[in-house]
Amino acid sequence: MDKSTHYSFGRDEFNLLEKLSNASSVSGDEMEVREIVIEEIKNHVDQYSIDSLGNLLAIRRAASTPFLRIMVAAHMDEVGFMILDKGEEGLYRFEKVGGIQVTHVIGKPVLVGKDKIPGVIGTKPVHLIKDEEMEQPISLEQLRIDTGLEKNGKVKPGDYVMFATKFQKLESSIMGKAFDDRLGIVSLISLLKMPPENIEILAAFTVQEELGLRGAGVAAYSLQPDAAVVMDATPAYDLPVWDKSENYLYNTRLDHGPAIYIADRAMMSDPRLINHFVMVAEKNKITHQIRQPGEGGTDAGAIHLQREGIPSISISVPTRYIHSPVSLARISDWENTYRLVSLGLKSLSASVLERG
């Protein structure tokens, strides 16, 4: 069988996603995920390097000519926390790294530092809370990470902290932390293992996306691609509205396939690339959706402004509850996102990028 037409993810991809989802990679501390990625790709790329910010840049040369040089990016980092103080009897103050709602923190288990010391984030018991207090949000300052009663704990200020959620594969869905953007990471690794012949893949496993798309810009400068495709996870707000009215602000919806970006806060996707990928989806009967134009941003926001400008597009997996302890995605949406990018690259030629 031609491996490049194999688009259902098998045990290898799910095992890899599980390993990556459970790994720690809070923005600024992407080492663990980077090491896993290097191990996966090193025998499938022509060269790889780590840049000054920690981006992992890998090149897989084209097998035929002429070829385009396309940057494909997925970010390695995730939202998390950092320890702020030396703690008092195992209780530590902490701060968010990246965008997390406090309500997603309370009553959750975490893992602290390189040794992954288990901790929990508790709160005042409900029995001792007055009704009016329940009407107020809990602030991060009120919370502590509790690592137990050890007097001389190993936890220290500056330790990164991750949610302790474990990956689960359900029937048609997957649940776990940091699907934003481990889904993209696994897809990008798969692309390097089963590359389109006509493309030189400039793979960028980026850092610090959650801190404002900081890794992707410098990666794009170094790689100098002809165009860029960003693979990320985008929120699916496809929940019922409180008054049962139609939800017309869903951003994306599960079961509707890869979400093609047209515009977000950070960029306009290149219209030629939009047309190309939409046509590829239609031709191959891949269920797909246009991500509702609006807020948000992906690495493409930083990439497209590098050098003289880089035509870019984001194609993301619709994912519920990103930036919370546990996200949820449909396996078919994830597979189809990979499939669309892979087929889209295979049929991408210089003519697509010509100005009419």
Partner: protein, 353 residues
């Protein structure tokens, strides 16, 4: 010999919401089996284990009661493939978004408690914490699959597995009150090595979090002369006044107040001092919210006592407990039983002039 940590981890890996304690009861039953002379399940589902005393003739009876039920959520409505839910027991809704749960449909389904994005919520509550009735549970299945398997009344438990923290601390859901069940197990192991004159009834009660259903009905059947409820109390944490809490890891608390027979309090206080087991007195103005409340007024009334284990973050899925505190309760209970004389609390323990 049951290893305490393993026992608690097993007990806190089970759901057992109020009224649905089956799985927990089965587990406790197998733990207690080698430790008791006979055992049966009450009409409401509480587990009763008897260890006969060595006293001659009609022996007096002491009841040890710890509730085995847990808080959770219950499905109120299935809407567009998502579940609307209610609190089942008292829960601070601000801890719920992002919690992993198990939905007990025909088969157990993993789920997530989710808070819809603000723009999908009523405008009046967008700046406030979202109450349980506006949260939902997502099980990652299609609308059709959800509708065929889940119905109003389906129970939902927290699926947080127990976690070992430093300093012999365990974290997890339903430490309230499975740690007290474990303390009874520990006590039963201790009294196996001891002589005791009284009959001991170990009881894992049902429905404490809802109605004290087990605590109200089991004493009716057992007719104890002394009853001791074992439960959890609030351990100190930043942001909570010290006088409302007891420090974790510094011993159990001995209850004092209207729910408590003062003579039993005195016995336990002296016993703890004698055995050099650290303890705090928990003053309980009015009536408390434990099985002691239910037991005290059963039938003609029962001399009742409460001993509690400090637990942090009560009624969250990350309640924490120190194992030493659990052992201390087990030891205290065993020593108390060991020293019970036939005339203890004759005249109901009231001293008359």
């Amino acid at each position: 010999m049951i290893e305490l940590k393993k026992h608690i981890k097993e007990l806190t890996s089970l759901p057992g919401l109020s009224g649905y304690e089956g799985s927990v009861r089965t587990t406790i039953e197998s733990a207690w089996k080698p430790l008791v002379d006979e055992m049966h399940t009450s009409r409401l589902g509480s587990l009763h284990g008897l260890v006969r005393g060595s006293g001659i003739g009609t022996r007096k009876r002491v009841l040890l009661a710890a509730h085995m039920d847990a808080i959770g959520l219950m499905v109120t409505q299935v809407e567009d493939g998502f579940l609307r839910v209610n609190d089942f027991g008292s829960i601070d809704y601000r801890i719920l978004p992002g919690q992993l749960v198990t939905v007990h449909a025909g088969r157990d389904l993993p789920g997530i408690v989710v808070q819809p994005p603000a723009h999908l919520l009523p405008p009046s509550i967008r700046k406030k914490p979202v109450k349980t009735r506006n949260l939902m549970v997502d099980v990652g299945l299609s609308k059709e699959e959800v509708e065929s398997q889940i119905f109003p009344g389906t129970t939902i438990s927290f699926s947080q597995n127990p976690i070992e923290l430093s300093g012999d601390v365990l974290a997890g859901h339903s430490m309230d009150n499975r740690v007290s069940v474990a303390a009874i197990t520990f006590c039963l192991q201790e009294i196996k090595k001891m002589v005791h004159l009284w009959d001991v009834w170990a009881v894992a009660t049902v429905q404490e979090e809802e109605t004290y259903g087990g605590a109200i009905t089991s004493p009716f059947e057992i007719k104890p002369h002394v009853a001791i409820a074992i439960d959890v109390t609030h351990a100190g944490i930043p942001g909570v006044p010290e006088h409302l809490t007891a420090p974790m890891g510094k011993g159990p608390t001995l209850g004092f107040g209207g729910n408590i027979h003062p003579e039993i309090y005195k016995s336990f206080k002296e016993l703890a001092e004698d055995l050099e087991i650290p303890f705090q007195t928990e003053v309980m103005p009015g009536v408390g919210g434990t099985d002691a409340h239910g037991i005290q007024t059963v039938a003609e009334g029962i001399p009742t006592f409460l001993i509690s284990i400090p637990v942090r973050y009560m009624h969250t899925p990350v309640e924490t407990v120190n194992l030493s505190d659990v052992k201390r309760v087990g030891r205290l209970l065993a020593a108390f039983i060991n020293r019970l004389e036939p005339d203890y609390l004759n005249n109901q323990g009231w001293i008359t002039k």
